[in-house]
Amino acid sequence: MMVRAERSRWQAFGQGFVAHGFTMYPVLLLLVIVGAVVAPRFLSTINLINILEQVSVLGLTTIGLSFVVLIGRLDLSLEGIVGFAPMLAAVLMASASAGGYGVELPGWAGLLVALGSAGLIGFFNGFMVVRVGLNPFISTLGLLVLLRGSILIISNGRSIYSPGAALTYLGSAKIAGLPVSVLVFLAVAVLVGCIFQYHRYGRALYAIGRNEEAARAAGIDVDRVIWSAFVFAGLLAGLAGVLMTGRLDSAVTTQGEGIIFSAFAAAVIGGVSLGGGKGNIIGVVSGVLLIGVINNLLTLAQVPSFYVQASTGAVIIVAAVLTTLASRRSSGVKTRT
């Protein structure tokens, strides 16, 4: 029999560290230290809460995205859902004078409409991918453009201000000084994190992403899992949209524009592989936090306007280099998306 030498403790630690999604945390720590030095107010409680509040929408979207990315698919339409779902609710809730249709749905019904439409859109995506066999890139891109267009059509191009307390509560209220949106984000992160690691459903996601045929052979109902992953992704994007509408106290026509790019960035920075089967919520959260901290820091550090974008890009590259070198050292393995 083959006897393998025990891995060295340090190497094992390094691999576990990388495998469990902690790779990015040292970089985050570094940024926090830089932040504390260059901007005295960076470490104030209020600023830290601000950061969490600012990333909660992106965070929920990225968690949603990670469902489909884990199974080796993708869903660009999430960006459209973040804008469309709350807009649909808002036009049905707002009075005609405020740009609504005069249906004036009560708030709880509006919330249901937002989440329900988000789930339905996810269901449609799942249908297209599983049943019709469409390439998810094309079908969800088409849907993204369609949803963006639909936002214009249903809203007549006008944002709807203050659509109603029930719809905006989650994104604007505070409990004991903590924004509800932060609590929602953290709760979802913990719940989904546990499902990914410890629930049968999560294990099925990983298995499908890693080897779909083998997963099928192992008796997993692959089609159903894929389909449901799109629904969960849609629902979470809908929830993210509701939070954003709360945060802006309006359903804005451009709401969510560009968020899918940030979500992909956060996911990949957090160690999620676009090829599927790799990554976890601890990593996703680190990616989301990194993006939030960079944005916050660049404002607080008074980087001149023209240099903000370039600095963001540079920080992303440096962070990627640092983590890659660190994880190569510990695991000796080169990664590929």
Binding site: L152, S159, S162, M244, R247, S250, N295, T299, S305, V308
Partner: protein, 319 residues
Amino acid sequence: DNSKVAIGFTPKFLKDDFQTLMLQLSLKAFADKGMTVVGSPDPNGDIAAQVDALQNLIANGANVIVFAPLDSAGIVPAVKRANEAGALVFSIDDAPAGGMVTATIRADNLDAGVQGATEMAKRLQGKECWAAKTCTVLELQGALTTPNGLDRSKGFADTMAALAPDVKVIQRPTEWTADMAADAAQNVLTQTPDLAGIFMASELMATAVNAQLKAAGRDAAVGDAASVIRVAIDGTPQGLQLIRDKALDATVSQPLSAYATKTAELIELVSGGGKIELGPRDDGQVIETPVGPQYQLKATLVTADNVDDAGLWANQLAK
């Protein structure tokens, strides 16, 4: 004492001349008055990023915030936060839909569209197609998701319908980009070779549109019987140069430098304990609105006749 003034500023984005100049002129105006700027992050067109940026600026000690809102509804929470924090709030170019501002400083975008349409209609009357009632005009809209894009389009389209009901208006959205404007202009010129006029919601499209006119052989100079009437909005140095070069008939000059200097003056006034008086001024008027006073600046129509007028901000800039 202006040294206690700590300003947080955000433009909409920094990728067109208008916003970029607004940032530069504003920072200069604040500096001239000895005010501190705690930050001027670029939200790059994202309303949520703009709200975040303002929130971060307040957390970082800004006691005055100045912004050009990307969305009048979406900006409200940032305004309210500033209100809670006791910071002065100045909204440039558009007013928020809620909260309280110290002042809004704006030129009416709807009016800019109206002025553009009025000039377009006036110039069309010199064309053969006017009498034959066969004129077609292309309206290159901004982004229909932005209030300015919608207002300029509404002002133009409604006025055209009223003043020139026989003129057919083809509307194309451009998302404020030159390349979408070029594609749209090219396609419409193919479909309607005798196109009589083009209205551009922003001058950023003008050079690209001219390149298309040239390619289609329709680049006759302004004043030529065969020329396509070109009217735009903004009044940047580039726009005025095109007018001088007879490559643009007219533009509506938005009072950009006044945005900057007026804002700085008003900050000085209010932070020094003063009050903004309502009523008419030489450069416009101040009216009361539900979200606070609004300083309405005049937008001037610029043609070859007044293109060298020293009062135009683009000409002041050159000096």
